[in-house]
């Protein structure tokens, strides 16, 4: 599909855990499954490594949506990391929603190393969702917008 000049291309940051989701993304790549190039992956040792500040910083630097991917509950490489991440992100996302950052702009998804298909599907869906929400005009540093 040719890219028209005015089409909105969202900036999306995906935090992927080293053990499951990053490998899942890798599998999606080696299986030739496509997902939008708007998604920028940042590898983290565990979903639990994601400090609320990371999410805020991503929004500050101009992200339109942030997604966190980790191992399925019960499969964490460090046994319990994703359980803590789950509680933290639940509270953080609820707080962002309270501040007027639409709930759709934040998401947590559990993707295992064998789920290349799920990874590509999730990213496609998420990008569509963000496209429908449009540019994130709130919670962004104006200096970072071009």
């Amino acid at each position: 599909m040719p890219l028209t000049e005015n089409e909105f291309r969202p900036k999306i940051v995906a935090f992927c855990c080293n053990w499951c989701s990053y490998a899942g993304a890798d599998l999606a790549g080696s299986s030739r499954l496509s997902y939008p190039a708007d998604v920028k992956i940042i590898k983290v040792p565990c979903s639990c490594r994601v400090n609320p500040m990371f999410i805020l910083r991503a929004f500050e630097k101009g992200a339109d949506g942030v997604i966190l991917c980790g191992c399925h509950p019960g499969d964490c490489h460090y046994s319990t990391g994703n359980y803590y991440a789950r509680r933290r992100m639940t509270l953080l996302f609820s707080m962002l929603d309270y501040l007027g950052i639409e709930k759709g702009r934040t998401r947590v998804e559990w993707v295992s190393a064998a789920e290349g298909v799920k990874f590509s599907q999730t990213m496609n869906e998420f990008v569509e969702k963000i496209k429908s929400l449009g540019e994130n005009v709130r919670l962004g540093d104006l200096r970072c917008k071009n």
Binding site: P52, G74, Y83, L91, L96, Y98
Partner: protein
């Protein structure tokens, strides 16, 4: 009030405690400040009245490092903060002699000023022995009156209760002051549209001058090194340069005390700009109660804190509320 002074003198004299932590009369009738009293003579300046809103539990971190015991006066809500600090091993129970003092609701001087009462010289009706229903205020422009209930601190309208959760003895009577719903304001904001929410907080937070008073006074903010003091951090102590930084500071501040905040309301009380900071903390408290079961920080030291604990059946972050 004399009861408290007498008891403090007794405990100082018999050597049970080395010092007393209480409130000292300020320049005005409405600004007593936290202070240590080392001797009987010092205690002549001791006050305890309706303006003693300051929570003394955070000072006990410092006092726990001093020689000997410290006598500390804690209001019912302050005792939750103390208990929370105890749970986090920040204070030493053996170094504290706690007298739980009664509370009839504390007053907010800003609200009195908003009633149009300026040039205040004296205020009566604020003592613990008074009925506490009307304030008689002597001002430069004549005598004024106002209702006690109307000028109470926001936190007293939604008081957690008048029972101390930790104490060695209790003195003075309390009075129930609850007359509104604790989460009412939070619910009102939750019902707004994203744009309205954003505008509401933009308006509220753009007042922030980053004086860090809310952090410094907070009994839950007791880290030795604070993220906000780091020079590598965008939001190091300085005026906010853009709307993002205004929000980031407040989100991070509230998140750092999530699950540990006892809703003592000190942040809102000390804010020189009158930002209703409790709206953030209370949102986290409401969510924690809703998602992970009712939890009151500081109530029980043996209870698992919500963010250092999990259940296999916890809700998913993407799930819609309800």
């Amino acid at each position: 009030m004399q009861e408290l002074v007498n008891r403090a003198k007794e405990l100082l004299a018999n050597g049970t405690v080395q010092r007393v932590l209480g409130w000292k009369a300020g320049d005005m009738a409405y600004n007593p400040e936290p202070s240590y009293f080392e001797s009987e003579a010092d205690l002549s300046e001791f006050v305890y009245d309706a303006f003693c809103g300051a929570n003394l539990s955070k000072y006990m971190i410092e006092a726990s490092k001093k020689e000997g015991k410290t006598l500390v006066f804690l209001k019912p809500c302050d005792s939750y903060s103390f208990n929370q600090l105890l749970k986090e091993h920040r204070v030493d129970r053996d170094k504290a002699y706690i007298i739980g003092v009664g509370c009839k609701g504390k007053l907010d001087i800003e609200k009195i000023k908003k009633e149009g009462i300026k040039g205040i010289e004296s205020i009566s009706g604020i003592g613990m022995e008074d009925a506490c229903d009307t304030l008689k205020i002597g001002t430069l422009y004549g005598d004024k009156e106002c209702s006690y209930q109307d000028v109470m601190l926001e936190r007293c309208h939604v008081c957690k209760g008048k029972d101390h959760v930790v104490f060695d003895e209790t003195l003075l009577e309390s009075r129930d002051t609850v007359d509104s719903e604790r989460f009412h304001e939070v619910e009102k904001i939750e019902k707004m549209s994203p744009e309205e929410k954003f505008q509401f907080f933009q308006k509220e937070l753009s007042k922030c001058i980053r004086c860090n008073a809310c952090r410094n006074v907070c009994p839950a903010c007791s880290c030795r090194k604070c993220v906000f003091d780091s020079t590598k951090f965008d939001s190091a102590q300085k005026a906010n340069v853009d709307p993002f930084q205004e929000k980031m500071f407040h989100i991070i501040r509230a998140f750092h005390v999530a699950g540990r905040c006892t809703d003592c309301g000190e942040c809102s009380r000390v804010c020189p700009q009158g930002i209703r900071l409790h709206l953030f903390n209370r949102k986290f408290i409401k969510d924690i109660n809703e998602f992970y079961g009712d939890y009151t920080a500081g109530e029980d030291i043996n209870q698992e804190a919500p963010l250092t604990h999990f259940e296999f059946s916890d809700r998913e972050p993407n799930e819609e509320r309800g």
